[in-house]
């Protein structure tokens, strides 16, 4: 089975994130790391490949050249090949433009299964993958916490607000995995050292046949207008318990309609 895993390099969670007031976008100039739940997606792909004894795991990403670091981590874990779509013209792409570029890159791979991590820690909103699935015109399963395969289909168990669902989709399919699906492996030293030697392609948008008006800000349909401080949390109230503390809390909860 050929599995493509879409990964993203995001600002390192250890470093305080900030929005650059000049560009009004997330300041990505500092340290970056592989998006945590993408490591779960890579791990799942590796397990699927290893369980079947054959197949290929390709990691795909869209970003600046330094995103190769995130791809190398996936290669160090055991992925076979990496593809980075890197192009200055892609800067400022919103969901519409990014999903378009990624879908074109994935079409080239013709994978049986495309995996994403459900969420990006940089505020992606857990949405990119569904847009890509739609562009590829393939069925999708979100929030997968467990995956099994039969001939020609993938079945995913996932948690929703109401309980858990079991969904089956015909392959090729697009699946977003939740971080509860597995515990990603640590890359072995041999893996880290061997990662550099694995094939890493860097492609531009024009090599993917993407027209300039579908990339970057030109290809986007949303814009950032302004930044401001959020409204303050609201007044904090602090009271001493004089024996009626519990009652006061209940009153407060009732006021906020958090109890019947």
């Amino acid at each position: 089975m050929k599995i493509a895993v879409c990964v993203k390099q995001v600002p390192d969670a250890a470093v305080t994130k900030r929005i650059d007031p000049a560009t009004k976008r997330l300041d990505r100039s500092g340290e970056a790391a592989l998006n945590p739940v993408d490591a779960n997606a890579v791990e799942e792909a590796l397990r699927i490949r290893d369980a079947s004894g054959e197949g290929e795991v390709v990691v795909v990403s869209l970003g600046p050249e330094k995103a190769l670091d995130a791809l190398r981590k996936a290669l160090a874990m055991g992925a076979d090949r990496a593809v980075l779509v890197s192009d200055d013209a892609a800067a400022g792409s919103d969901l519409v433009a990014t999903s378009y570029a990624l879908a074109r890159a994935l079409e080239r791979e013709s994978a049986d299964l495309v995996l994403f991590g459900q969420q990006a820690s940089d505020g992606d909103g857990a949405l990119l993958w569904a847009a890509v699935a739609e562009r590829l015109r393939r069925p999708m399963i979100s929030q997968a916490a467990e995956l099994t395969f039969e001939n020609g289909s993938v079945t995913g168990k996932r948690q929703t607000e109401f309980g858990y669902d079991v969904i089956r989709a015909s392959l090729p399919a697009v699946v977003a995995v939740a971080d509860s699906i597995n515990e990603p492996r640590y890359p072995s030293l041999k893996g880290i050292m061997g990662a550099k030697k694995k094939p890493q392609d860097v492609v531009t948008l024009s090599e993917l046949g993407i027209e300039p008006d579908r990339a970057g800000s030109a290809g986007s349909r949303t814009e950032v207008l302004a930044l401001s401080a959020p409204p303050p949390r609201g007044d904090t109230r602090k009271i001493e318990d004089d024996g009626s503390g519990a009652e006061k809390i209940l009153e407060f909860l009732a006021e906020k309609r958090l109890v019947q």
């Binding site: 994130k17 900030r18 009004k24 919103d94 519409v96 999903s99 378009y100 879908a103 505020g123 909103g125 949405l127 569904a130 847009a131 739609e134 015109r137 393939r138 069925p139 999708m140 399963i141 979100s142 929030q143 079945t155 929703t160 607000e161 109401f162 309980g163 858990y164 669902d165 079991v166 969904i167 089956r168 989709a169 015909s170 399919a173 986007s220 349909r221 949303t222 814009e223 950032v224 207008l225 302004a226 930044l227 401001s228 959020p230 109230r237 602090k238 009271i239 001493e240 318990d241 503390g245 519990a246 009652e247 006061k248 809390i249 209940l250 407060f252 909860l253 009732a254 109890v259 019947q260």
Partner: protein
């Protein structure tokens, strides 16, 4: 400006979040329609009207019975194109997020998410997006129509207008790929309580509980409020509660509607895991505990007195 609101439903009821968005949209002053998709759902149209929809589109089809996203994308795309709808709004849920994103791709339409408000500024629609762990508010816009907006869960309360909406039935033409996913089992309740990430109420305990036994009362209060139990790193390290419940920088990130912090000091390593909670109540006997700086209601007192009493009061109220 024609606006359509996707109305999610579950077990015969329209979801509060969707109705809230409907009310918000209606409040902007332009005619708003709602769309209900499913099987045997026509009866819900009346509610949609009552909560602000001037028109209620209903697509009733067995292929829409399971709450899967892709058939719904077909319905929405079809309606948007047929009626020239300019704005489509969603209330955040697992299903809605999938639909909104896929619809954005289908229509090449801009999607702004994590919205906490929506305004019209000089005839232009501007969304207010809460970003970076609620530390910054971003004004976002759309550069073309249709515009898609995904609101954070629970930002708006439904507003009953008492009006009746006009019902319009919709026949959906499904794409081939939209029918390639099948729901085999749906919405099975887990035997244990909600997992901490999905819970809308979390009652959490820290070292101020004094001893591991303190978690007994935390669990009781959580049960009474229908919520999950959380724990700080310090007590998990000390073995009082399992790692799966740890909230904080090296544990889980949660943003429930209510977070009750019992005996928790509120050091930043914990704060970053729960500061997005809508309402925070803190009980701690140390008046200088940092948590009082950001709790909506802080009670300086003895957790072992207050928590069991509160549990009793909550139970009494709901019976």
């Amino acid at each position: 400006m024609t606006t359509l609101v996707f109305l999610e439903h579950h077990e015969g009821e329209l979801q509060k979040g969707s109705l809230g968005v409907l009310g918000k949209a209606a409040g902007l002053g332009h005619p708003v329609s709602g769309i209900i998709l499913g099987s045997g759902v026509e009866g819900l149209a009346a509610d949609a009207g009552r909560y602000g929809a001037a028109t209620v589109y209903v697509a009733d089809d067995p292929r829409l019975e399971a709450p899967l996203p892709q058939p719904r994308v077909d319905a929405l795309a079809q309606l948007v194109e047929e009626k020239g709808i300019e704005t489509v709004l969603f209330a955040q849920s697992i299903l809605s997020a999938d639909i909104a994103a896929a619809l954005a791709a289908r229509l090449d339409a801009g999607l702004n998410w994590q919205l906490v408000d929506l305004e019209e500024q000089d005839g232009v629609l501007v969304g207010k997006q809460s970003a970076l762990g609620d530390s910054v508010l971003v004004d976002v816009g759309w550069t073309s129509t249709p515009r898609l907006g995904l609101f954070r869960a629970g930002v708006f309360d439904p507003v009953e207008t008492g009006a009746a909406g006009t019902l319009e039935r919709l026949d959906v033409r499904f794409e081939e790929h939209s029918l390639l996913a099948e729901m085999l089992e749906q919405a099975h309740e887990e035997t244990s309580g909600p997992s901490i990430e999905d819970a809308s109420v979390i009652v959490a305990g820290g070292r101020g509980l004094g001893a591991p036994e303190g978690f007994g009362m935390v669990e009781e209060l959580a049960k009474a409020l229908g919520g999950a139990v959380g724990a700080t790193r310090a007590v998990v390290d000390a073995g009082w509660y399992p790692y799966a419940s740890q909230v904080g920088q090296t544990g889980k990130n949660v943003s429930p509607a209510l977070y009750v912090a019992c005996g928790i000091s509120g050091a930043i390593q914990h704060k970053v895991g729960m500061q997005g909670s809508k309402v925070i109540v803190a009980i701690n006997k140390d008046p200088n505990a940092p948590i009082f700086e950001f709790a909506d209601l802080g009670v300086v007192g003895d957790v072992s007195q207050i928590v069991p009493k509160l549990t009793e009061l909550v139970r009494a109220r709901s019976s």
